[in-house]
């Protein structure tokens, strides 16, 4: 952090605010966008699962769409959105309840980014390996 004269600041983020500018604002925006997206997916997901009460064939047919390449890629996005929302939710809780939370909120944001990547890289591999194999793999 740079040295600042009292009364004004050269930083992009005003001191003493959490949600105006910088990491605090953009995580807030992302939290809302991922939250709304997940809520709408949840509606669809309960409806498609409800087909187990109709017939095994109806359920298997709808689940088959989840196995297609494009929807498979959307599932990676879903997992990515859930992971961000979950980690950032923990960050919000730490800001609210941990005495040093507000001071370390910026570091926690970059911690989220690191852990997110650490999970998403192998996650992407395991989630899409079948699709990649089916599309580009050598037929044996």
């Amino acid at each position: 952090m740079s040295v600042e004269a009292p009364g004004f600041s050269l930083r992009a983020t005003p001191i003493g605010t959490l949600y105006r500018g910088g990491e605090g604002m953009w995580t807030w925006v992302l939290h809302r966008i991922t939250g709304v997206s997940l809520f709408f997916f949840l509606f669809v997901h309960v409806l498609d699962t409800a087909l187990v009460r109709v017939s095994p064939a109806a359920y298997d047919e709808i689940i088959a769409t989840y196995k297609t390449p494009i929807v498979n890629l959307l599932e990676v996005g879903l997992v990515g959105a859930v992971l961000f929302h979950a980690f950032n939710g923990i960050r919000i809780i730490l800001i609210d309840f941990w005495a040093k939370g507000p001071r370390y909120q910026r570091q926690m944001t970059w911690g989220i980014a690191a852990v997110w990547l650490l999970i998403m890289i192998p996650g992407f591999y395991f989630m899409t390996i079948h699709t990649i194999d089916a599309l580009f793999g050598s037929t044996s």
Partner: protein, 133 residues
């Protein structure tokens, strides 16, 4: 020291003051922590473990819901996720819908559809029949 001066803003404070928003705020944090485990566990099992989504079909669901453990897992996840998400949507509607009428009807739509989805999901878990069809 007796005085007739009322506490500042006492009128507005005493008028229909409830702790609903406080409980809602607390619920988001408590349900959020539980959902981290329930949802990440669900996603790991369904999308990554042992072939991921490619192995899911009716028989797979039947095998899981034969166990009360996964029934309770899924039921808790259904209720907590929809109440957590529903309260989040309520906050967002309150923030962005400026006209009273718009806000009211959007929230009605939210409450009706969320109730329907929770009821449907609960019914499906409780009435699941592996020998159907």
């Amino acid at each position: 020291m007796s005085t007739a001066v009322f506490a500042p803003r006492s009128d507005s404070r005493n008028k229909q003051r409830s702790n609903f928003e406080l409980y809602g705020w607390m619920f988001m944090r408590v349900s959020g922590i539980i959902l981290v485990f329930l949802v990440l566990g669900h996603l790991f099992i369904m999308n990554i473990l042992d072939g991921g989504v490619q192995r899911i079909n009716f028989a797979f669901v039947a095998g899981r819901w034969a166990s009360p453990f996964w029934q309770i897992w899924d039921l808790s996840m259904l209720w907590l996720a929809l109440l957590h998400g529903g309260n989040g949507m309520r906050t967002i509607i309150n923030d962005y819908a400026e006209r009273d009428q718009t806000r009211f009807w959007l929230k009605m739509l939210l409450y009706v559809s969320t109730t329907f989805i929770i009821a449907l999901g609960t019914l499906v878990i409780f009435t699941f029949d592996a020998s159907i069809g």
